[in-house]
Symmetry: C2
Subunit: 445 residues, 2 copies
């Protein structure tokens, strides 16, 4: 793991634990006045208040209990610790497609090792088979641990690493690649891989889970089975996100990487396709394509790897009272691109027009998306929009602001030529633009 | 209008128009090679390319036509310009409730005057009756033009002005107040008024339209009738947004001001209640309450006006690759509050932890919301969250990031005391926090 995962208690807490002769992973009972709690002693976080201990209750809750003088701690058992001793890998069926699972971290790839207190990625091939034995009947699995990161710590240079690792696996003959990833920034990574991996011969399926595998309500196994099934057999060859369609386990949908967004902090069906539908669904182990318009799997096709991203791009969400000097600040720091998340059809306050004009004058690419999320930017309707267009702000149609950020980083990683930049940014590369279904009427002033 | 609304054409375009002897508002035919366009000549925007003219086609489109040497412009009529001569106001029925409509601008309040080329707020009482005669049978209407602003130009000081204007009308006996407002930042204003107008005796209904009143598909009249009906007769006394429930004209819903968000750039049902339901619906002229849990109308209740907002608060949407120095920049500029729009359950990259620690050390209030929009921040689940809590970041449960920004501006407008600030920020003031329906399980490390 690249994360710091301290397991230790300090000072008073440590003393209390030692006195009771219990250790991480033990089943303990804590008695305070009339209350008693039973659960497994788990590691505590680094920055927290030192005067409490944390236990995982039987129902799955973690609770922190403040240390008090009258508190009593007893060991009542060794708890039910997951065994990480890997079983022998199953016989691999040579007739099955080969799928490589590349693990980057996140909930789907994590299990607490109660013995050491550390979190470890569980996605070695043996671990996978031990957790989800069904996989052996779907594909020959290879597993690679690339990172062990919670996805809020994944940035553009990690996207480049992932793209290269995937390209290598595809070149070496994988029939499909699965990326296990934290859900927090999965949408950003999905967009990044959609741009970096062009002309894909086989599918790249990004998968995560909203609840970890040691919880009864976990979506990890069903999502992983869906992802591996698609990597092995799906007729499409695109970068997609595989997650629950609803809160039940009955269907997994595949969202195009440039059109997907995490829209709920905790639900299993948190991911939604925006301004379009998912491209496929697996229900009762059967895959249905939801569109005819997709790139077909073709192992003979030659992958184009374009993994460069320029980090000098910022996403600015506009709001009433926003300080317009923010735009100048980015320009002074030699940013090459700004994606504005404007209001409605693509507007920001007139107070920001002058700094924007200065930015465009210094050849900073400024693009507009909408914080509404759904719908399309249309800057021809109102004066604010027309004036922004005239200043040189580029409207990005129905592109998600997150995808726009990633695309502009990618475009500026591909070319330094202003004309090419503009052309690449406004041309559909990976279905980031949906076609207009109907010509939209413009409105009056 | 406070907006610049230039009507003029310049140089080549002006010359072409003069040569053809046509003026703004005339019905003209433009012929170019084999193509011909008919429509009303409309004003052009200030910053645009000067080599085109803009006409409004019969179907409602505006199109820009590039000037070319072989182009021909003919006047074919004076067009159908809306008459703004106000009819005599209808008899007012003294038995009806008194509703004051305060206009701030936006699509609902705008009509192009084709004669002058300017946009004017149409919401004098006489104009209103001429556009929506039904209003006379619902309430005695008074109308006040406060601003003429597209809402992307409305900021915290305008919220204060609005709150004072509404308080004055309520104190002088209005049975309800309607605010006509642009839809772009209507959600932010709705939150602001929810905090600034406490202990409301009568309803305050914010209303807008997604399509202007001179378009056949306009939602302006139905939204306005719904808003006035609620202001006159609704049983609740809260700040709400009144907009279409679906794309059809059959129902108007009322969203609580702190829980509403514009979620589509152009649809008539763009506004959604997030993490809760609307509080009421009007269908077939009948209002149904959708919850029992609301503040009842009571004209004897004494309004508390608290219109102060501190603009030294910023909303920061986190994304992969975000420059952590951004946080220092705000601190150096003496910002008093930062609202982070984190990922998932309320996370941002570890790269930003040090600047955040510096910010908190300088007594900047740092609060966390989620860019997922739906769901609840829960910073006890993963180490990133727990570490942020330990740094002093305040989790704002299921509050919208836009509402959180507005609330922090408002809280810092009320008090300079750190303890009071913290208490006010985390206490429910205007239903900005929804109660948890079920205790949420926390997850493993």
């Amino acid at each position: 793991m690249n994360e710091k995962e301290p397991s230790g208690y300090k000072d008073a807490a440590l003393e209390a634990i030692r006195k009771a002769d219990v250790e991480i992973g033990d089943l303990i009972r804590v008695t305070k006045k009339e209350e008693a709690y039973e659960g497994i002693l788990i590691p505590r976080s680094e920055y927290g208040d030192e005067k409490y201990i944390v236990i995982k209750l039987k129902n799955g809750y973690n609770i922190g209990i403040n240390l008090t003088s009258e508190m009593r701690i007893e060991k009542i058992g060794k708890g039910s610790k997951p065994a990480f001793a890997a079983p022998p890998p199953p016989e691999q069926n040579a007739k099955l497609p080969k799928v490589v699972i590349v693990s980057t971290g996140g909930t789907i790839a994590s299990r607490v090792d109660y013995r050491t207190g550390g979190v470890r990625p569980a996605l070695t091939a043996s671990d996978l088979y031990s957790v989800v034995p069904e996989l052996a009947s779907i594909a020959r699995i290879d597993a690679q641990i690339l990172f062990g990161l919670f996805s809020e710590n994944i940035g553009p240079h990690h996207w480049a690493e992932m793209a290269k690792a995937i390209a290598k696996q595809i070149t070496e003959g994988a029939d499909g690649v699965v990326i296990a990833h934290g859900t927090d920034t999965m949408g950003y990574t999905a967009a990044a891989l959609s741009f970096a991996l062009q002309n894909l011969p086989v599918p790249v399926i990004i998968v995560g889970s909203q609840r970890s595998a040691d919880r009864p309500s976990s979506d990890a196994a069903t999502n992983l089975i869906g992802a591996v099934t698609a990597a092995a057999n799906a007729p499409f060859a695109e970068v997609v996100v595989a997650m629950h369609e609803t809160s039940s386990d009955t269907s997994i949908v595949f969202h195009r990487g440039t059109k997907v967004r995490k829209c709920h902090s905790s639900k299993r069906d948190a991911f939604k396709s925006v301004n379009t539908t998912p491209i496929a669904r697996i229900q009762n182990q059967e895959m249905t394509m939801l569109t005819e318009d997709y790139r077909k799997r073709d192992k003979a096709r030659k992958l184009l790897l374009k993994p460069e991203f320029d980090e000098k791009v910022a996403l600015i969400k506009f709001y009433p009272g926003m300080n317009p000097e923010l735009i100048d600040w980015y320009v002074e720091r030699n940013y090459r691109g700004l994606v504005l998340e404007g209001t409605g059809l693509g507007h920001i306050s007139r107070q920001s027009f002058e700094p924007l004009q200065r930015a465009v004058g210094k050849r900073v690419i400024v693009a507009m998306t909408s914080q509404c999320i759904w719908g399309r930017v249309n800057m021809n309707v109102y004066n604010s929009g027309r004036d922004l267009l005239a200043l040189g702000v580029i409207p990005l149609e129905d592109m998600l602001s997150e995808t726009a950020l990633v695309k502009l980083m990618w475009v500026l990683g591909q070319t330094a030529d202003p004309k090419e930049t503009m052309e690449l940014l406004t041309t559909d590369v990976a279905r980031e633009f949906s076609p207009r279904t109907l010509p939209e009427k413009t409105d009056i002033e």
